[in-house]
Subunit: 226 residues, 2 copies
């Protein structure tokens, strides 16, 4: 008697995870550490990169710039003479509000991977979907600016949970806001206990040295200091 | 001879538009004007509603509060003794980053439509996808806060184009920012020439009278003053 045997594949990967693993393999072969850099629109991702990309001594950095359309941020970063590739979700990807592994995969041939130690992928400004799609990264870093309010970790917990590092930006504005920093940090610890965080101001330079140090350690595959 | 006749349906509606029309019919039957209220996370939607919902003389207002999860904003607004219904995209809708017509349709039975003149639907904080889904609204209003930078209309043009009114919020912070208001307004006019705009500060109350006036006129179905 024949019996049809059905093999149950446990923990099957979805298409995105499958492609993320392929990206991961390519990055590993080239020895590139990849940071998926995320935030709400206008939180300061590009400015925080401008502050450090020219000063990562000995680390060859490249940027993959994700936007729905346009290349404003890519142009800003290219002026620092680092390789920048623009990935637009509006052309060919239906105007998606996030990057996914497949979009990043289409950009890999345009990236000089063998000449890089560190690749920062600046995701589309959005606190929801970017956290749902792995792209083959080593680290996920997010920026939360103090002008956005203390409640953001509670309203977008997946994003805050998904990260290895939270940059709390625009702290130069604290004297002019009713933002309660302790309350924000309490909310952050409620959704992601003990996650690394740095208080920074892209504008005044406060905390930028620590952000640079974090990137240097990540590029060297050294454990971060909490 | 038989010929198969294929009828071409021009301008076929997608499922979202079909449901948006059904919502629209329900709102019209009840005589409710609906505002779809959108912005990036932390731009100040809820605070801008808190400033006006208690002072819309003669207009019975309700709020449909959209969030991925939680009910923080709904609780804030309920304290003004207006009907508030919470719609979470995280439960049953896969954690969507926007409201669509079907989600709003599921909330309609919970809304006291016959007792309302104006319904404000506070969308999920996101500058991309909320602009792509009509929900059966009369108006689309967005908030862009000056802390987000002058480039936002160029980076998220669909959102800025989709709106009848742009509230430029947090103008009390202008003295502390390098934000160039003229440049922002130039970018806004580049993507949506002449769109109505109001400069407001939810914190100091500046411009809030005009925002209230806009809502009163919308509720009365009077044309707006540019």
């Amino acid at each position: 008697m024949h019996r049809t045997r059905i093999r149950i594949v446990e923990d099957a990967l979805d298409a995105n995870d499958t492609i993320a693993r392929a990206n991961r393999d390519d990055f590993d072969r080239a020895g590139v550490v990849v940071v998926n850099f995320m935030s709400a629109p206008g939180a300061g991702k590009t400015t925080l990169l401008e502050r450090v990309v020219g000063e990562l001594d000995g680390v060859r950095v490249g940027v993959l710039e994700g936007d729905v359309q346009g290349s404003l941020d890519a142009e800003r970063l290219a002026s620092f003479h680092v390789p920048v590739v623009q990935l637009n979700t509006g052309e060919g990807f239906g105007g998606e509000c996030h990057l996914d592994a497949n979009m990043v995969r289409t950009a890999i041939p345009a990236l000089p991977l063998d000449d890089l130690d560190l690749l920062v992928v600046e995701n589309v400004g959005n606190l929801v979907c970017p956290a749902e799609f792995r792209i083959g990264e080593d680290h996920r870093v997010m920026v939360s600016s103090v002008t956005e309010g203390e409640d953001k970790p509670l309203k977008y917990p997946l994003m805050f949970r998904a990260c290895d590092l939270v940059l709390v930006n625009k702290i130069d504005l604290l004297p002019h806001l009713e933002f309660d920093l302790q309350k924000f940090l309490h909310n952050l610890d409620a959704v992601h206990p003990g996650v690394e965080r740095r208080l920074v101001s892209a504008r005044t330079g406060e905390g930028i040295g620590e952000w640079r140090e974090w990137l240097l350690r990540a590029a060297a595959r050294e454990p971060a200091i909490a």
